[in-house]
Subunit: 635 residues, 2 copies
């Protein structure tokens, strides 16, 4: 049945089974959803929409016909008039594509009103569907820019969605002798440039499309020279999380002609955009040739279709995608693909943390069905057992407390997303408990990344959510945190005698403010530097970690200057966002159902092989550590 | 360097280093060879040509400029005048593409003359290069037809060769991060539709391209729906041997747009053409839709570049092919590919017999280098040990002798190529030793296949070659063999009381004369039927083998008639052209050098898996039984 036929059938059904005064004006595929436009959309009950979804096995959305929507400017005035001033509305964001208006306010309860009465009133008055949310406590430039793009280019976005919708629901005859296979275009037996290419006779899906930021040349990008790869044939791109080794090349796909959807969680969309822009900025400064420009990042944003954890979405003929929490960074997901009506299920973990962290819940390990799991192996080697988490926190706070006590400064070089926020939560608690008394400065990308975290409290751990929603106590807003606003501000922090903690990018001192802090603070033995993440060979971070006593560093004027290293150097391995070997094995053990095949990726060759071999011994299932350019038949 | 540049360089070198009176007229790529045309080609010494090949690392051929070649008709008269009549010249075959004339005679020694003096005289007189050969004792319609095609379409063939030559020597920049992989498009964990697809960044090679004649529909053909397969990109097709499960689809490639070379041995070219035509004839009679027509078979012949065992040939940028005897059927080969200057070597056995048979030498097991072996697994299962060969022959001759003694007839249904000729050699010896005294009738395709065998004595076992060349004693010409010329002839054989042996196709009684013989001879208990090959489920052969006492057989008029089975039924498994389990393991053990990876294919799933698992236990190398549509990275 063609897309047109399906739409007609749904339209006929809805017209026949809904009250006549709903006044249906259009039925369209928009991305993976079927959208029914009506002049009186409020007439449809939730149960009717559910029934519709059940019958047609599609995601259904009902939206007001654009003609009935009040002009945004006038609508905003109307909202401000209806809602009591005490609600402190800070922003109304009109989404022309969904017919929704997000109403940000300090007290969203007052926007809802008793039993939703205020909402009802707003809806009747302006026809836009009001979505009350709490005003994000820190405003994010990234989110603002994305929203602005989506609004400004709403006509284009709608057209993109409709084109994608028709492609997803295109008429294909499913073959009897269906086959399913996965090619590994990058990230197999290595870390960096992760790119998995799922193929069936009818569809091609790219799951993650990263770059290796640590190297130059062709090997930094996935194997697009694989003979089966054809950019014109890709139905969908799925992104598990925002780290560049998983999403760094996505704008490049658009540069080279891709024009389809990108599926990921909303936080991933925002963080990914932030990181891609940052990557571009740095590369430009270094004069590197980049595979894309900021224009392509914008194109990527416009083609992104955010999906929530647990919602099953058609992404290609006979392929359904469900994203599940991966516990690794904000919005990180395990991608579960259900292929060919119940035929085959494959889950790819992306990067996972199978342990509750302060920031996030542990990775999901239960699926409705599962035949193949593709699991990361960063710490899959025989010796990769990480120190206990609680111990590590204690040790960390000890170093901080001692340094502060002797009036020193603590430099903590971190990657902006994930570890930074996790450490903020540890520091916030330590400060509240009186373990130290000094400000924590946030420099580099950390502030903006934190802003994005505060915009998606529903993605954070239960504990943090509880504090934010029920106790009105947002740890990220603690007085202990201070934003470093500019170079002057940074200079003052360095020069003052005040003991303090500095969380700053980049995590390996390969550039960014962390190098500035180190240069100025290294010679004073009162100070300390704490490494909480991996330091790659050849980086400044690695040299310091190894105990070099004097390090030549290039000055702004291009002259090399020797910096004496007198500050105390600490390395703490227990804060990783990745599962260690024990957790990876525990994850496989807890998987429900147990899959028939286990593939290990995303780790040095020996670690992928170790994990595969252990998994084979433990579970007696088919296990393999594929190589890049291997294509594995799954069914 | 472009193809043009290479040619120019060679031309300059030759002009500079050869006597001026050679009169070079042209230098061209023709297929994998560099051909130097000269008005006086005889001036070049063999050592000069070898030196040239060494320097430029190309196969070099020196040929007379077409302008100096005498008209074939006149040249033939000249040859007949020069060579003494006693030589009994039967045919002169002028090959316009090579400037050679094959002189077939009963006494080739007289064509050569003392110290080659007669040859020299001929050469001087006609300028064609004379190649004296013994007149094949049985003339082959297939070979005649192929020669006629090649002569008639010589202009077209030359153009094809030049196009292929330029493609092989095209200008490609070999990448530093070279990768090599093999996709299995058919014949993995199954028998039938064998198709291996070798890929490097620069090249695509198809090694074998078979069909499964036992089934209908898409599953009879290789997985051309594999995403990496692209018919336009194929550089070369390599065929290991003439069985349809290895070459049955090749004309189909030309039907669907392939226009490149097919590399195989000369006997394989001829036998393959015979079998493809036969397959087409049968399919047409059965009203099947075929993926090609006889026009495509002719196209395939014109694109075939025969290569001898042991000769290394450039078949694509950075891919060199060497064929080695596989011991399976006449002309069968192991394909050894040497990829990227010394970088990687993979050998694919095709079907192998690792035991001397009467007809052929055992498979070659030594290679200059070897990293991966892809080995057949037809009898790779734990129980697949075949009876001893000498025992089997004895048993076979016993059955024959006893049946003849009781004045019965022996039906031996065989596949036309390979087993038939092997049994002929056994029967010829038995007859000579007086074990039985009765004629052996050859029906169906066997006679023609035997004719092709006699045309290529150099491909037969040392023993047979000795008999033919040194003792003038060709076993295929024994008086015991009689050709069944037509239906009348067949009727007479059936009706006469004379005891006899009938070797006849098809081997599984799935059609052809074997069914006729069986219907008429089954009810007489004096007769016998001997199965020497595999009988597939559902075939008439299988039913007889299983001991059915009454079998309904369709008559020509479409009515079913019950045939009583009274003749004695025998099955002999020891004549297989495949290595049994012991021989396969012995082959791996004897391999030189031992490869680092062993892949098992061409067998039921359990047999491929059994063999892989045994090989792993024995050799501790990476072993796998890939699936169809798996792509395995080799380097
Ligand atoms: Zn990650
Ligand atoms: Zn990663
Ligand atoms: Zn677009
Ligand atoms: Zn064969
Ligand atoms: Zn075969």
């Amino acid at each position: 049945m063609s897309a047109e036929d399906i739409l007609n059938e749904i339209k006929q059904y809805v017209i026949k089974n809904s009250p006549g005064n709903a006044l249906i004006t259009d039925v369209q595929f928009e991305g993976p959803e079927v959208v029914i436009y009506a002049k009186n959309p409020e007439i449809f009950s939730n149960s009717f929409v559910k029934e519709l979804a059940r019958i047609f096995r599609k995601r259904i959305a009902i939206r007001p016909d654009p003609s009935v929507l009040m002009e945004p400017e006038i609508a905003k005035d109307k909202i401000l008039k209806i809602v009591p001033e005490d609600a402190e509305i800070t922003n109304c964001i009109f989404d022309a594509n969904t017919g929704e208006v997000i109403i940000e306010s300090k007290k969203p309860g007052l926007v809802i009103g008793k039993d939703g009465s205020t909402l009802e009133e707003i809806k009747k008055a302006i026809k836009w569907a009001p979505k009350p949310v709490r005003t994000p406590p820190i405003s994010s430039e990234t989110i603002k820019a994305i929203r602005a793009t989506m609004y400004r280019e709403r006509t284009d976005v709608k057209e993109i969605l409709r084109r994608i919708g028709r492609r997803i629901h295109r008429d294909v005859k499913l073959r009897e002798d269906c086959w399913i296979r996965m090619s590994f275009l990058g990230g197999a037996r290595e870390v960096g440039r992760t790119c998995n290419y799922l193929q069936t006779p009818e569809s091609r899906i790219l799951i993650d499309c990263g770059i290796n930021v640590a190297i130059d040349g062709d090997k930094a990008f996935p194997h697009f020279d694989a003979p089966e790869f054809s950019i014109e044939e890709i139905d969908a791109v799925v992104i598990t999380h925002a780290h560049l080794d998983h999403c760094g090349f996505v704008p490049g796909l658009f540069r080279y002609g891709y024009d389809g959807p990108v599926y990921c969680s909303k936080p991933t969309r925002d963080l990914m955009t932030l990181l891609q822009k940052d990557y571009l900025d740095i590369a430009e400064k270094e004069g590197k040739v980049m595979p894309y420009s900021s224009k392509d990042i914008k194109k990527c944003v416009k083609h992104t279709i955010p999906i929530d954890y647990g919602v099953t979405t058609d992404i290609a003929p006979a392929i359904k995608l469900t994203m599940h929490n991966a516990g690794h960074i904000l919005g990180s997901a395990i991608a579960h693909c259900h292929i060919g009506d119940g035929l085959y299920n494959v889950a790819y973990t992306g990067d996972i943390k199978f342990e509750a962290s302060r920031l996030l819940e542990p990775a999901v390990c239960q699926f409705p069905r599962l035949e193949t799991i593709i699991i990361e192996s960063t710490y899959g080697g025989y010796d990769d057992v990480l120190p206990d988490r609680a111990e590590t926190e204690k040790e960390f706070l000890n170093v901080v407390a001692e340094t502060i006590k002797r009036k020193g400064k603590v430099i903590i070089p971190v990657f902006g997303i994930g570890r930074a926020q996790e450490l903020m939560l540890v520091l916030e608690e330590g400060y509240n408990q009186g373990i130290f008394n000094a400000p924590v400065y946030l420099d580099g990308m950390i502030w903006e990344a934190t802003a994005i975290h505060t915009a998606y409290p529903e993605y954070l751990s239960k504990n943090i959510r509880n504090r934010i929603f029920h106790e009105g106590d947002n740890p990220f807003l603690s007085e202990v945190f201070r934003k470093v606003k500019n170079t002057n501000n940074r200079r003052n922090i360095i020069d003052s005698n005040e003991p303090c903690i500095i969380l700053t990018t980049s995590g390996m001192l390969s550039g960014g403010p962390s190098v500035e802090y180190f240069k100025s603070l290294a010679e004073d033995e009162k100070n300390a530097i704490v490494f909480v993440g991996y330091q790659a060979e050849g980086t400044l971070g690695r040299k310091i970690q190894r105990g070099w006593k004097e390090i030549p560093i290039m000055n702004r004027n291009g002259k090399s200057k020797a910096v004496k290293v007198n500050l105390s150097v600490h390395t703490l391995e227990g804060f990783s966002g990745h599962s260690d070997r024990k957790q990876l094995i525990k994850y496989l053990r807890k998987l429900k159902p147990m899959p028939e095949r286990i593939l290990t990726v995303h780790g040095e060759a020996s670690k992928c092989v170790d994990l595969a071999s252990t998994a084979y011994k433990l579970f007696k299932k088919e296990t393999r550590a594929p190589m890049n350019l291997d294509a594995i038949r799954m069914k």
